[in-house]
Amino acid sequence: MSEALREPWDSLRRQREAASFGMWIYVSSEALLFAGLILAFAANRFLHPEAFAAAGRETNVIYGTVNTLVLLTSSLTMAVGAEAARARLRTLALRALGATLVLGLAFLVIKGFEWREDILQHLVPGPGFKLDNPETQIFFALYWIMTALHGLHLTGGLGAVGWLSWQAWHDERPLRSPAFEAVALYWHLVDIVWVFLYPLLYLGGRT
């Protein structure tokens, strides 16, 4: 088992502080990445309210809602996993991390089914688009970009959680390692981004 304390730190407490603080800074950066896209969405929604309402009714609210619940639950298991690792409760930590992996994968699978249905319904902008109003294509352009980028972030999160779980499982990473908490913070960011995307994409046209 390798040592939890790394260069250039003198104490694990300080190193943990740095891992969390660094991740918070990165999270603020990621927040602005999605904020840029959400701003583009908001500006276009302001310019074309009718088209955005009509297009918003075409998204699949069932899949969206189920996925929201799945992802929120995964944040719970992720938080349990990180805290359990910190308290060095090995079994609980591994189970919670495993549950996080399963829920994250479930999100992507459900999202895959939803994307498939969107394609079958001709909701990809371009010739043969389902709706007549060309401005609705802007809504779906942003729908595809934002959900794809979110999916990409979730895939990255799955990779990180999977890697940490693998290392913890094989006793290659001590449970006191600050990495668990840092990855958990990232996971919550991905979750919170979805909390913004869900109402914008699925609820906006249905109020």
Binding site: L32, A35, N44, A51, E135, Q137, F140
Partner: protein, 562 residues
């Protein structure tokens, strides 16, 4: 400052030769390409940036040769577009943005605050590989056929009409952006958490403050660039229309999002130069910097207000006049902290014991060139004048005065100042001074004529122009020859110094920062014993009144080794 007794390795006894210089502590190719030492990574960055500086510089040479005559002779119209795009893309994202932070900053930041390394050493190495990957992708785009949109990627040209490698170049810029963000995160965490005992926030050297402000801007602005370029990529690659006017999209939205990053990016490029120049001016005038706390506030003020002025790039885009007025006003507001800095440097010189070593010559040149660049920025911030000179050489001259006359001059100044610390060698002062003076005149010679021809109406980005502008273009191209010589000269004498230069002591300039208390070059762990600090920086005349200007004042080191 000589209590360097038996050096005890602070931690990690397994590390080889912890007391040796970082250059010799480990040997072999892998010890460089897999290093987590911030000093070695700084050198890796320096090597990569030198390559990109040559590529971007070669494009500038092609542009200046083409513009010697009013007709098109060297390049096709399309080739010319690709050439200035290459110049802009490479110089902005692969040289200027990372120049001072990733080389000098990477090297000096831990040394200046008394740390052993950056907070996340492996992230630091990762950011270099990301930079190299992005650079390779950009080079592929340039070799495969180039990009003709200009560095600004304006839509709808970039999304719909351009028949060039926009996609690859945009992805390369997104990638290099994440490399910047990684570095920014690392710097912020390091400054917050790894300062030596007693190194309080208001005892930080101004270069550290400047890098802190820069990192904040990098972390908060760069992701927006990534977002908007991803929208361009999506529109080009997958036909997802966000900016397509035919489907109700708004090309102006692109400009807003793009400049939301790209104006703060100007401050990413110039803030580190402010930090470097503050170090040089204080050292070679043997004076405490005038108004330290206001220098700090000015840095942070610029970092914050820098986010609120992007609309001044869009005065002729058709945006609301009231919006333009607000952005114009804020652009005047942001000139105030820059002016504070210029005045404070000048006051630092006042009654100082000025000596004219090469770094000081660069710094003094910086103040002059930056002042001209800044004042013409105010001219451009006034809407009526901006409408007149938009997209002319006046604008080209203005931003080159800031970014080349300012940032590149400061980069060379910092390089000559810290070169003895980085390599442990001194270079010939005569050639170095000559190079500094040559750079000032070469620069002014190249870019000052652009103000005149720009004001007379010479538009930017044109290869064929009316013959009455030829005299200015010839002046400018002739100056560029001198400037190129001034850029190449240091490469010669610095390389010479590596082999034949005299050994530099720990502190050849008698400067006060913590980085000057360790050996040159520093050991792998930076300090043989952990430093502590009990005074502010730049204590060049600890006895209160400075002595007569013919006598060199005593100084006191910031902090001491325990």
């Amino acid at each position: 400052m000589s209590e360097i007794a038996t050096p005890h390795a602070p931690t990690a006894p397994a590390r080889p030769h912890a007391g040796d210089s970082y250059l010799t502590a480990e040997q072999g190719i892998a010890s460089w390409f897999l290093t987590t030492d911030h000093k070695r990574i700084a050198l890796l960055y320096m090597a990569a940036l030198t390559v990109f500086f040559f590529i971007g510089g070669a494009a500038a040479v092609a542009i200046r040769i083409e513009l010697v005559t009013p007709a098109a002779d060297l390049l096709s119209a399309d080739g010319y577009n690709r050439m200035f795009t290459l110049h802009g893309l490479v110089m902005v994202w692969f040289f200027l943005v990372p120049s001072i932070p990733n080389t000098l900053g990477n090297f000096l930041l831990p040394l200046m605050i008394g740390a052993r390394d950056l907070a996340f050493p492996r992230l630091n190495l990762f950011s270099w590989y990301l930079f190299i990957g992005a650079g390779a992708l950009l080079l592929f785009a340039l070799v495969a056929g180039g990009v003709d949109t200009g560095w600004t990627f304006y839509t709808p040209y970039s999304t719909t009409y351009s028949n060039s490698y926009v996609l690859t170049a945009a992805l390369a810029v997104v990638l290099v952006g994440f490399s910047s963000i990684a570095t920014g995160v690392n710097f912020i965490a390091t400054i917050h958490l790894l300062r030596a005992p007693g190194m309080t926030w208001f005892r930080l050297p101004l270069l550290v403050w400047a890098i802190y402000g820069t990192s904040l801007v990098i972390v908060l602005a760069t992701p927006v660039l990534a977002a908007v370029l991803l929208l361009v990529v999506a529109e080009r690659a997958f036909g997802l229309p966000v900016f397509d006017p035919a489907r109700g999209g708004d090309p102006l939205l692109f400009q807003h999002l793009f400049w939301f990053y790209s104006h703060p990016a100007v401050y990413i490029m110039i803030l580190p130069s402010f930090g470097v120049v503050s170090e040089l001016i204080t050292c070679f005038s043997r004076r405490q910097v005038f108004g330290y706390s206001f220098m700090v506030y000015a840095i942070m003020w610029i970092a914050v207000i820098g986010f609120l002025v992007w609309g001044h790039h869009m005065f002729v885009s058709g945006q609301s006049l009231y919006v333009s007025l607000a952005f114009s006003f804020l652009s005047f507001v942001i000139a105030v902290p820059s002016a504070i800095k210029v005045f404070n440097w000048t006051f630092t010189l006042y009654r100082g014991q000025i000596t004219f070593e090469a770094p000081m010559l660069y710094a003094l040149g910086f103040i002059g060139l930056f002042t001209i660049g800044g004042l013409t920025g105010l001219v451009l911030a006034s809407i009526p004048i901006d409408v007149h000179v938009t997209d002319t050489y006046y604008v080209v001259a203005h931003f080159h005065f800031i970014m080349v006359g300012g940032a590149v001059t400061a980069f060379y100044g910092g390089l000559t100042f810290w070169w003895p610390k980085v390599t442990g060698r001194l270079y010939p002062q005569f050639w170095s001074r000559f190079g500094a003076i040559l750079m000032f005149f070469g620069f002014a010679f190249t870019f000052f004529p652009m103000f005149i021809m720009g004001f007379l109406g010479m538009p930017r980005r044109y290869q064929v122009y009316p013959p009455e502008f030829q005299v200015w273009h010839i002046l400018s191209s002739a100056g560029a020859v001198i400037l190129a010589g001034a850029y190449l000269l240091p490469i010669g004498y610095l390389a010479w110094s590596l082999f034949w230069g005299k050994r530099a002591g720990d502190n050849p300039w008698e400067a006060t920062g913590l980085e000057w208390q360790t050996s040159s070059p520093p050991p792998r762990d930076n300090f043989r014993s952990p430093p502590v600090v009990d005074t502010g920086p730049y204590d060049y005349h600890p006895d209160g009144e400075g002595p007569h200007h013919t006598e060199r004042a005593p100084h006191r080191m910031q902090g001491r080794q325990t």
